[in-house]
Symmetry: C2
Subunit: 213 residues, 2 copies
């Protein structure tokens, strides 16, 4: 299980890397809806080469963001290792929002779900577990307001994706304002005004599936 099938010929492997590099760059710059043709052109390979190596756009996205998803998971583990529940939680939020700001494709990816992409979904699920622990711990310690719901993290990621997509290069630090405001509101303060009800987890899941077209 998990074998790499046939090892690629040397020139094929070189082209694969070129494609991944081009895709990484294009996605980071412009988000996940860059065309396959554009990526092939940018990589300097024929369009057929791209499609043979990555038959669907999802396959390519999967390969491009494998390492970024690792970093995403690591961020959750690091946060859980922090002895201070609030530091852990808020540091985590800042870290993942920062990752979104650094890579528009990743920003899109975090708010989407591709039920067909197995490996990616598994990491998504693991990250979700760690995030839930982080939330529960912070709540138990009384740092995080009790009416906080883990859907709020997804909402913040979607909001942040919106800011990042809009401000792009023109105001690359605008997202920090958003996150700072939100973290303040998340903290358990003295007067925590009532919140509208949170969407159900199922509704948020549907929303993320919809985003994947």
């Amino acid at each position: 299980m998990g074998a790499e099938d046939a090892p690629l010929r040397r020139d094929a492997e070189r082209n694969r890397e070129r494609i991944l590099a081009a895709a990484r760059e294009a996605y980071a710059e412009a988000g996940l809806d860059v065309s396959m043709a554009e990526i092939a052109r940018h990589a300097g390979v024929g369009i057929a080469t791209l499609f043979r190596r990555f038959p669907t756009r999802e396959d390519l996205i999967n390969a491009v963001f494998a390492d970024r998803m690792d970093a995403y998971l690591t961020a959750a583990d690091t946060a859980l290792a922090d002895p201070d529940p609030w530091n852990g939680f808020s540091g985590y939020i800042e870290a993942i929002c920062g990752m979104q700001a650094a890579d528009r494709g990743f920003a899109d990816l975090l708010t989407m779900t591709f039920p067909s992409a197995k490996a990616l979904e598994k990491q998504h699920a693991r990250a979700f577990d760690a995030m839930t622990q982080l939330v529960d711990r912070a709540k138990a310690a009384g740092c995080l307001r009790p009416d906080f719901s883990h859907q709020d993290v997804a909402i913040l990621l979607m909001a942040n994706a919106g800011v990042v997509a809009a401000t792009g290069h023109a105001a690359p630090d605008a997202w920090r304002r958003l996150v700072a405001y939100m973290l303040q509101a998340f903290a358990a303060g003295e007067p925590n005004p009532d919140l509208p009800p949170a969407p159900t987890p199922a509704a948020m899941y549907r929303a993320m599936v919809d985003l994947g077209r």
Copy 2:
């Protein structure tokens, strides 16, 4: 000045209305990047009819959202008429974010700027003035934190556009959570933690122009 040029023939006027209705519906549902062809089909008119009446996509957007922009302006005036500065400000924020949630096209529109669309830009500018007054009044009254900047309103609109685009029909009230959190953080509370610096107005302007492609 301001004349309607030649009054349209009756059948032409009917088609114009059909086009506007179709465009209004399509934009509300799917945002501003619905194709012209799709709108013509949906309106049941030939593609040529659409292009003759609205030579550019901007012309169409302009016509479709004229009344919505009026409502947008009215919201600011209503808010200024409220004797309570905080009520005025927070009601305004809720109102315009609600308008974004009700119409995805409008959500896109508010975070974009089309320097070429004269009428629309004029209203945009007037709304901006009213909003600035609203902010200044709330700050002077001590309801709004002193380090709030009017760029934060634009950031919130972009964030909200992100949430609305992502949650769509699946979680149509998710935006309310975002807005509630943000308003709490905007209020002048006892412990207002330091914020990262706000983007410059010029940077935000550039961001909005970029969004308009």
